[in-house]
Symmetry: D2
Subunit: 310 residues, 4 copies
Amino acid sequence: MKPVTHIKIKNGMSVNELIRQMDASGVLGGGRLAKAVNISEAMINDRDCKVFLGLAGPLVPGGMREILIDLMETGWIDAVVTTGATLTHDLGEALGYRHYQGDADASDEELNKQGFDRVYESYMPNKIYEGMDDFIARNFDKLKDFKSIKDFLWKIGELTPAKSMLKSCFEKKIPIFCPAISDSGIGLMLWGQLAKGRKVEARAFEDLKEIMDIAWTAKKTGVIYLGGGVPKNYIQQAMQLAPNSAEYGVQITMDRPEPGGSSGAELKEGISWGKMNPKAQYVDLICDATIALPIIFAALKERIGNHQKL
Amino acid sequence: MKPVTHIKIKNGMSVNELIRQMDASGVLGGGRLAKAVNISEAMINDRDCKVFLGLAGPLVPGGMREILIDLMETGWIDAVVTTGATLTHDLGEALGYRHYQGDADASDEELNKQGFDRVYESYMPNKIYEGMDDFIARNFDKLKDFKSIKDFLWKIGELTPAKSMLKSCFEKKIPIFCPAISDSGIGLMLWGQLAKGRKVEARAFEDLKEIMDIAWTAKKTGVIYLGGGVPKNYIQQAMQLAPNSAEYGVQITMDRPEPGGSSGAELKEGISWGKMNPKAQYVDLICDATIALPIIFAALKERIGNHQKL
Amino acid sequence: MKPVTHIKIKNGMSVNELIRQMDASGVLGGGRLAKAVNISEAMINDRDCKVFLGLAGPLVPGGMREILIDLMETGWIDAVVTTGATLTHDLGEALGYRHYQGDADASDEELNKQGFDRVYESYMPNKIYEGMDDFIARNFDKLKDFKSIKDFLWKIGELTPAKSMLKSCFEKKIPIFCPAISDSGIGLMLWGQLAKGRKVEARAFEDLKEIMDIAWTAKKTGVIYLGGGVPKNYIQQAMQLAPNSAEYGVQITMDRPEPGGSSGAELKEGISWGKMNPKAQYVDLICDATIALPIIFAALKERIGNHQKL
Amino acid sequence: MKPVTHIKIKNGMSVNELIRQMDASGVLGGGRLAKAVNISEAMINDRDCKVFLGLAGPLVPGGMREILIDLMETGWIDAVVTTGATLTHDLGEALGYRHYQGDADASDEELNKQGFDRVYESYMPNKIYEGMDDFIARNFDKLKDFKSIKDFLWKIGELTPAKSMLKSCFEKKIPIFCPAISDSGIGLMLWGQLAKGRKVEARAFEDLKEIMDIAWTAKKTGVIYLGGGVPKNYIQQAMQLAPNSAEYGVQITMDRPEPGGSSGAELKEGISWGKMNPKAQYVDLICDATIALPIIFAALKERIGNHQKL
């Protein structure tokens, strides 16, 4: 048994130096945060491993957009599954809109009159929908004939006038999946085009085929979940069906396991399903993603550097 | 200001009698549980109100299947949005499989060998997938030419050999939506047919049109959310776009609001978005759905009776 | 393995009939609620078992006062450990004050001006302190020479002009302990007397001796925890030191286990400490106490009746 | 309104540089973590402000002991309130025992046989009690005649053979309060001496007088809560009674506010009670303390340096 070595703070220590101290403590939130860094590092450095990233929760309204873009640029990620909300927020910012620092106790009625949509204490200007609608309408001819949602999203990324998570996915050819795209602002904009008599095709099962192919052909797989929801579950079912279950797993969530939902389920539960390998390295980190992600990414950058995975 | 009247327990009291006592207390979990009953009753009894029900979390593995079927039969619900998991669990039971009382501390590796998939402390036999695959394959000719996911689900309900939530939705003509159907066992079975060269069409945006139509044409709307995820968000965006926002709201979740995700967001947040009417009656109940739903449904049955909404 | 039998709701069913249905489901929140009833029933009906009740959280502001008094009157409980807050709220109501139904989003600055202390969405009138101070001052001669905090609390109960939890404990001779009494309104009132030059003696270790004696001399022990904090921990350490660890355990809390604090710790953790018997019947119920307690007590009353434990 | 500036990670950035980025994002967990640093810095640098620190939860088993000792040495803290558990863990380590990195899924029955007490995933060797008992017995003559619990704790600190949190409090003359000392291993050891016929005096109300004096004579006050329980509540009631309520507040907890308990209550609730100044700078950070404390302390050290508060 290893003793808990107490964390020692030095003046001016780097994020990774702090994580090394947390690693020596080895227990509870701090120890698990360090373990999340270690496992992420191991899966990224494992050349045989395809890394799947699931994104749920208000990452862009929460200030994580540059980190996500940076993460796509590193080459560390092989496939992304996301909610439609994050795509909407990402595209909105690429079109020049911003999110704002707000107040969780503000009057929602007043915010509604002022045109701000509240995301706990972050505000999204409602005008974002007009900008997106205009963007979709202007580019409709280039967007209408996509075969899969992934191809559609890459096309959006290509057309986006400024840097964005979608643009990085397009440029780096990282497959990005959004199984519930109709449940989002982008989905609504497409539906708006439909309502005008234009034709949009969205073959949900094309994407399923593609993510399955990545999981089936990978020698090894690793999963990183920021939040739960469809993104986590969609990756989990790919792991379940693939011949090899995941060998690395990092989950960051504030949901609890006892109600039994997929979002809060501990990663070890996946072993029963054949989603997670019984010998896998994995950790469940109970932490707000806007705290954990910047720390983990800063520590990884310090360890792995800016160079891309080979 | 109304005083907190302390709950008084009488021997043999009915569920609704207990809820009336909780209503008199008026605060915290107990008070909110009573408020959830009151608001549900009000929206069901309001003839002008269309009631939208969002279903997320392990409701069938958690013993809620009969209540859900019963709820569909009452005529109280006008539209359902669900995860694919609940449809999978529901269909599995209709095909003769059961879920089992398990142990959250069991060895997941051992369960995997025995063919059981763990949902916290409920077990699903993995054989369920074979049964579903067989069912889909046998009925494929009747399933392949659906226009929307909703029509496909109704057809499944029609074909199901025993009573089920889907069958009740079909028989009562309750539109049931599953925006992320590809993220589920049923989705996988369809994909399996595709892999065999069969053609499946799933027009995600047809469903969006239909749920929007219900929201747009309703004089009033009410929402009931068991858990969050895509089901809640999909209904919320219908409320956002409709000319009238929801006038009744009941949310039952164990997720917390501070991380900012849609699942844990308090209903009042929806006022800023135009999803919830500033004058709406609404309540956020922080409770496991497998505790709250049976109590609320028992109290409602006692109040409203078995008669259908007129 | 037992299958999950789905809960079936009948019109007008009693609380215990509903609990029997939840028991048949056997999993997640509903199943655990039923298990909490079963284990409570077993420990109450076990003549050899001494039942320890730990009380934390806003039970009186939450409408639980009549249930607590009723519970003391049943003879089911052999020892109580509580926070000082519950004693303060209980005494305040016995002196004629009430708690009020409030709003979690109210202006706290405004409430302060109006003289109301907020407990999430329950309000306590600040005047309660004057009434208590007056009560303590008037009765000081009878209160000053207590040997232990328990004796002091019984004396308060005896002197209380109306029925109260403390009065019931006094009349039924149920030892009631409050290790952190100085951390409460009652503690402050005593300190106020001290400040006026009066002498108050509080021998903390007398109480420790008494609770240890109960635990040591019991053939068997059972524990019921509403919330965590000092009440739970104080009973847990009595279980730890006693020759026999607890054979029954029911814990009701909303705290989570991962941060490692005593309040959120699962009961099974107590096995390592020798607090809980490895063969004990126990359950962790993740639920707001103001929901769970009325339901459990109603079901128990229906099962055991009003008759006192023999 | 300030826009959410997305966090940008640089290679090798220091903890405080990361916090500055989180500060620019300004929302959700990351933004609140930065705010916790800012407010802590402000209260420490405010020469008129007395800083009260409340300690609850498994800080020593969680690897925080060196940080706590370091924090006492900085001179930033003017009064500490703690659970007895932290004192027990601190003294145990000072006597040469260690905590160990364990497994939350380990067999508690097996751990019990091996003599390890589990604290989620940290293990405490049960032998710690023997060592403490021996230490107390050997030093009993020097410990028996303390006037207050605080004086007793300082004496323990003086006698401790190695550096410890208690020793630092003694040497730096930081008053340290433990209202529920009888609810702890140290309390049990004292009770053991009593059982041997020795006399121990613990005047709970002496401590109340002393903490009140600090709060009453301070020009300004600030509060930092790691966890809730008695430590938070005891400081809160000192704030309530003092003529000036707290002007700075930082709370770090994983408990949620809706059940209404003191531990999970948002700091703003304290405004209604007169515990928190309506104009105070305060923040509620929902985070595991073993993640938040090292980060906050590292950032503060970088900002304020090692020099003591003047």
